[in-house]
Every structure is written in C-alpha cells, then in structure tokens.
Amino acid sequence: MAYESDLSFNYLGPTKIVFGVDSSKDVEIEMSTLGGTKAVVVTDEGIIKAGLIDHITKALGGKCVGVFSDIPQDTGVEVVDAGAAFARKNGADIVISVGGGSVIDTAKGMCMLITEGGTLRDFNGIQLLTRPQIPHIVIPTTAGTGSEVTNAAVILDKAMGQKRLIVENFNIPRLGILDPKMTAKLPKLLTAGTGMDAMTHAVEALHALPHEPITDGLALHAIRLLYRYLPTCVENGNDLVARGQVQIAATMAGWAFSIAGIGIVHAMAHSIGAIAHVPHGYANGMLLAECMDFNLESCPDAYAMVAEAFGIRERGMDDLDAASAAVRALKEFTKKIGHPQRLSEFKVNEDDIAKAAELSLGDGCILNNPRMVFDSSEVLEIFRKVL
C-alpha cells in the first residue's frame, strides 16, 4: 500500500497489556502499581452468573469497595450516571471493568464522572478532557471490542434516540489484562459475533482515511490471527491457545482503529443498533462485506492486503481482483463461523433501515470512510442488501 508524501499522524497507545492464562489473578498486584487502593468492579449479571468475578474479588480482598453490575446489553447515559454515583459513594480511586463492550464503555464513562463530576450529558463534544482520568483496568470477557486500548466509548442516549460517541485521549484505560480463560465460556454465536466485531475494526482501520503504517501493521496481523483462530474458537471454546490469539487480535485491532479510525460499517452498525437494538458485533459482521463492496473502487489496495492476510491472493491478480476475492472470502468466512447473515434475523424491517440510514449520516465514523457518503439513499441501498 502506498502512502502519500504528506503522511502525518500521532500514534498514541499508552495502555499496558498483561497477557496469559490466569493473568486476571494478578489484578491486585497490577492495581497497586497504578496506585489504586479502593477498587470498584464494574460488570454485569451475566458475568457474575458465569462465575467470572469470584476470583477477581477474592484477589482484591478488602481493596474491592463494591461491585456495580446493573448494566444492560446496550449501556446508557443513566447507567453511567448511576455507576459513577455508586463509585463516588464508596470512595473508589480505581475502576476495574470485567465484561464486554457495554461494561467497559460504562466504566469509561464512570471514570470521567468520578474525575470531573457532573453527568454524562455534560460531556457533549469531542476531546474535551484536559487531564488524565481516574485509572481504569479492563479485563475483557469477550474478544471483539478492543475497548481496553481505545479512546472511544459508545453510550446510548434514549432521549436523543442515538448512540453518543465519546472520544477522549485522557480516558484511555491504563491496563488491559487478557486472560484467555475469561473468554473460554463464551457461547459459539457470541464468539462469532464479537470476533467479527474485531475483524471489522481491523478491516475498517485499513480503509479509513487516516490509516498509517503502524495501524496497518496492527490491523493486518489482527486479520491474519482472526482468520486463522476464530473458527477454532467457535468450534472448541476451550482451546485456550486459539482464545488467546483471538484476544490479542481484538486488542491489536482496537489499537489500529483507535488511531486510524473506522468508517461506514460502524456508522451503520451504531445506527441500526440505536434504532432496532441489533447487537453491535453482529451488525458489523453482517454489514462488513457489503460495505467493502460499496467501497471497493475507492480502496482496492487496502482490500487486496486483506486478501493477502487471508492467504487467498493468487499470482496475477491485480488489486481489484484481490479486493473482490477478499469480499467473497469474508462472506464465506461469516457462514463458516455460523455468524448471522441477515438483519431480518433480528426483526429489523424496512422502516428501521430507513431511519438508520438517515442516522448514519450524523455518525462521526462516516467521515473517515474512503468513499464519501453524502446521501442516505446510498446507505439505505447497503442496508437493503443485508435485510
């Protein structure tokens, strides 16, 4: 892939990563290195029922001042406000999130409110913070969002009927603990959906307008790892080697898109999530190939690299041929891992996609798409292909 002579970027990846089977047992040691003495653990009821919290609270002992677990699948402004009030009441000086994207994003919002005060609706804008926020340790229980290393959080604002995108460099988590055992109980379908979320982050980081060599490298290796190991995770969730490699891929993809940005797939996934509550990972996974097809002629070189990472680029293929092959391979890949194929499987209808198409044009992600999108009819056309 060629880079322009005016290439310029800032790479910011301040999160320490601790990886390994049973590494989550080290949470108290790691917390102390960050100066934390009173931790509030943020999680959800599903994680508690799955028994993924007990060893963490046990390791923290008296340093755990409370567990906040009232978090739905799509977190909201009120949830974050309530979580922050809970943490303040208990005197927390560090936040430890244990869960998937909704939990981690809730914790990110809480960190801002614990440090700055107020409610989440006071933070209307982008890059508003001027100082580091309270430390945040992330222990992901899915391998998809990459949220443990990103500056972004997505919080549903029901009153506005839209997901709020928070982007704050001063609120990037300090530490991510990737313990393959924490994802071993993830069901097949959720493994596929969260894995495709990571795949979408990686592919979109490659085609996003601000992509650069460091993020390209991270994204490409993430794609290689996901293509190789995600099917194994779906087949045999207890394969901790595969689980670990997919976790690492999700983190690398998170780093990549946090810097390079993402594009139309996420703009559409955020919107259909807000309108019809389609879970984010599944929405990304269903839309990715069709959006690549939409962008194909704007960035064939990026998708040709995807084909190379998949190991399917044949001698004699030009970039466009290879890019088309990548789109076809990706569609087959989603079938192979048992990923949902159509939005109608989530009871989405024509009215929903019309509203979501309109909403997509106001999503910040769309600004970084390689093909400019100015009309909602173009977005609607893509939605119809996967309805």
Binding site: Q127, L128, L361, L367
Partner: protein, 142 residues
C-alpha cells in the same frame, strides 16, 4: 493588498466578507443554524499573550455577527472549538485537517458532534474560505 492581522476584529471582518462573497457558500450552508466560537489559547512566545475569543453567527446560508468577544459570549455559542494558537494557524494554512485535529485531540469541540458530521460540507467550506485572504500571523516575520 495589505495583509490582515490574524485573530483581530479586522480579520473577522475580512473573514465574514470572504464568506459572503463566496459563490457556493449560501447553497452549501443552507441547513446550518447556530453560532460557532473559536477559542485560541495563549502563547506569549508567539505573540498571543492572552486567550482570544471569536464569535461567529451562521444561519441557513446567511452570516451574522462576527466579532472578537469575551469568554462569556464565546461560551454561549452552540459550538465552541478550542485549540492552541499554533494549531489554529495550521488549520488556517491547511497544514492540518480540522477533522483529524479533533480526533487526535489537537482541537477540542463542545457541541453536538452528529450535527457537525451531518453538515461537514459547511464546515469544510468555511475552513476552505479561511485560507483565501492574506493573513499576517502574530509570529510571522514583520
């Protein structure tokens, strides 16, 4: 034609005149409503001893008040964009893309991000016009 001193009322007047004179602005900005404040952080070494507040009022393709103002007026704007002097200069000289600057934290924006995204053509147009008149920046050689 003499250069206009940046970040002064004279500069705001020239900026407003350039927007009004632009043949495409009115059509592109037909959906935009609301004021924008630009806040330039001080940089004494570069000739900006104090924070400068600029207030611009835009309404459906028309241009209203364009003034150097105080902090309270700037903070009353629908959108408040804040950055260091050098960053604003880079944006004006097209050395820095404003959208990229926001995402990288080089500029900060208070206001409704989805609204800005939906109207990005207007934002890009206004920034494009900013580079169309000769400006004397405080740290430029006299």
């Amino acid at each position: 034609m003499a250069k206009v001193k940046a970040l002064t009322q004279e500069w705001m007047d020239a900026y407003k005149a350039a927007i009004v004179a632009d043949p495409d602005y009115k059509q592109i900005a037909k959906d935009w409503e609301g004021s924008v404040a630009l806040v330039c952080n001080p940089d004494p070494d570069k000739g900006v001893p104090e924070t400068i507040y600029l207030f611009q009022d835009y309404w459906h393709g028309d241009v209203g008040e364009f003034v150097v103002c105080d902090k309270a007026k700037a903070e009353s704007a629908k959108f408040v964009m804040t950055g260091d002097y050098s960053r604003w200069k880079q944006v004006a000289l097209k050395e820095l893309d404003a959208t990229k600057a926001l995402l990288q934290g080089k500029l900060k924006m208070k206001g409704d991000l989805p609204y800005v995204v939906r109207n990005i053509k207007t934002v890009n147009k206004v920034i494009d016009i900013l580079g169309k008149f000769d400006t004397q920046w405080p740290d430029d050689p006299a």
